[in-house]
Symmetry: C2
Subunit: 228 residues, 2 copies
């Protein structure tokens, strides 16, 4: 019984790794579609999101089956519940990558924003890509140094997000309303992608170290944003 | 043991009801702060979000304790896992209500948008309020008719969200960039609030009826939006 349980747990680990890699690829391609106005790559992200959603359902089913059949306690229970939540968060990140790609596709062959706004959004996208890759490596290696790197990257992403509003508001930059809409949404999607990466990083760190880490909430930052 | 378990399950139900009512109140007040530019009410929403977050942590702890100590299977397991997820979704809805209130507060004493954009956003807010109330009643009563009402309301909310972009893009409406930013974010927050209500409704319906209902994804709608 324990033998089977540990096989199933390692299957769960492998599925999560695979899911995290697919999300990392999705956000890489979303960033590429934004940078190069590449509609083919944008379509790939949108199509691949279905597979990420399927994988989440598989992980969900596996977790429920494990809980029902093996009735794990203590560390094993914590492990299965964390897997459930990490899969949910990764699924959400897949949606966000898809949204970024959908905007790139919707504006094709134009970029969704002129410089310097586009440049700032691309910097945000690069940070999201790094976060996606680091999350995949963290799930694979359990190297807690990566959890700190992910959190630090997320702070940078938040700072760029705040800067994006200043830039959009600056009348020196000519922007159509469509461009303002796209820049606001792209900024929001990328910032949320970063939040979710931090949330996964904290959960994995909690799982590995047993340390209690607070949940990430999408609060203070947003309040500061609107308190201009 | 079963006796205690059922007491704990009913505690869990009571906590979820309380949380859903607090979220309904939060979105009601967020809508009010938007409608009347009421900064006191906006502050109340922002402060109350902490209590919603605390309640989620309590429910989380109770669920983990139930899983570890009682090792439920079948329907009871499904019940506890659903509670975990519903609490997560409600927590997220509290954040979104808080974001709406933060924008209302940030623009005080001006409304965040001129008419007719404000009117449309208020219609969206009213639908979100109805969804919040219906979710609380659904959790309380398990009346599956409400689940359908919530889904239908969410479709209307999505339609209004699409309309909000058309309105923002219409040059006949004078809007500053700040107003465009606010309208885009308010629309997004309210639309997501509706998505989460549908997600809770489906999960409760699944729990009550045993019927399999697909997860709600934030996909098709967004893709359509960007494919102008």
């Amino acid at each position: 019984m324990r033998e089977i349980f540990h096989q199933e747990l390692s299957q769960l680990g492998a599925d999560l790794e695979s899911m995290a890699h697919q999300v990392a690829t999705a956000v890489e391609r979303a960033a590429e579609s934004l940078r190069h106005g590449d509609i083919i790559v944008a379509e790939q992200v949108i199509d691949a999101d279905e597979r990420i959603n399927d994988l989440q359902r598989d992980i969900d089913d596996l977790c429920v089956m494990l809980l029902a059949r093996q009735q794990p306690v203590a560390g094993d229970l914590r492990h299965v519940l964390s897997a459930l939540r990490v899969a949910q968060t990764l699924e959400r990140q897949g949606d966000l990558a898809r949204h970024v790609a959908a905007i790139a596709r919707g504006r094709y062959p134009e970029p969704p924003a002129p410089e310097p706004v586009l440049g700032l959004l691309l910097q945000m996208a690069d940070l999201a890509v790094r976060a996606g890759r680091d999350v995949a490596r963290l799930i694979e290696t359990r190297d807690l140094g990566l959890a700190k790197t992910i959190e630090a990257g997320d702070s940078k992403l938040d700072a760029l997000h705040r800067r994006s509003f200043q830039m959009i508001l600056d009348p020196a930059h000519e922007l159509s309303r469509q461009q303002v809409i796209d820049a606001v949404l792209l900024g929001r999607f990328l910032e949320r992608f970063g939040d979710h990466s931090t949330s996964v990083a904290r959960r994995v760190a909690y799982l590995v170290s047993g340390a209690s880490l607070p949940e990430t909430h999408d609060n203070e930052d947003a309040d500061a944003l609107h308190r201009r």
